[in-house]
Symmetry: C2
Subunit: 129 residues, 2 copies
């Protein structure tokens, strides 16, 4: 699951309305990191960060779609998120993301890092084994 | 966007905690349908339905991942969802899903249909045009 290239991060705003965005991510044990690029999607980035500040609960999904529905699977992680603007934890997240994604090497993510402490994990697969 | 084969549906529970699952879907104007298979993922299905009963606000994402990050795009629809167990609206949703996915032809979704009235739409693309 940690090798997947993209995940979808769901947050909720202060009123409890859900919001979902695609994210790159890196996993280190029970901690997951994702970052904000500080690129055109600025509005979205702020929404995501605002939501986490209001409500730290998040849900993150990695799934595999296949036209053979016997090959579908997904993993969902629930956790508590924090927004980290700088410092060692921020740098650790950036380091892991740059190591995983060569696209970040020329241009590491320049915005805040979202640190997620995973509290629950659910996996589903259409086919056992 | 309506041609995409999978979307991710975010809901929130009564306490405002987000939840995200992959879904098949069909679009008809400003209405979007997804259904519950009544298969092994029964627990998940119930969670999703419980959430919509508690809070009708949902957020649905279709995104394209590509190793060339200039080709990334996504579309997010926000809306209000209802769970429909039977009747014409249920049957309309099943009909559209079966028409879109040949996988459903032998075995149409047997559970409730989630009907989403789209109230907001946001699209993002890494490259203009």
């Amino acid at each position: 699951m940690g090798a997947a290239r993209v995940a979808r991060l769901a947050t909720a705003d202060a009123a409890g309305r859900p919001h979902v965005v695609p994210v790159t991510f890196a996993v280190d044990g029970d901690t997951l990191y994702t970052a904000v690029d500080q690129k055109p999607k600025r509005t979205t980035a702020l929404k995501r960060l605002d939501n986490i500040s209001a409500r730290p609960d998040v849900s993150l999904l990695v799934d595999h779609y296949d036209e053979d529905w016997d090959r579908l699977w997904w993993v969902r992680l629930d956790g508590r998120a924090r927004v980290v603007d700088d410092g060692p934890e921020h740098d650790r997240g950036v380091q892991l993301l740059v190591a995983k994604y060569e696209q970040y090497r020329a241009r590491p993510p320049a915005g805040p890092v979202i640190v997620i402490e995973v509290t629950g994990r659910r996996t589903w697969s259409a086919s056992p084994g």
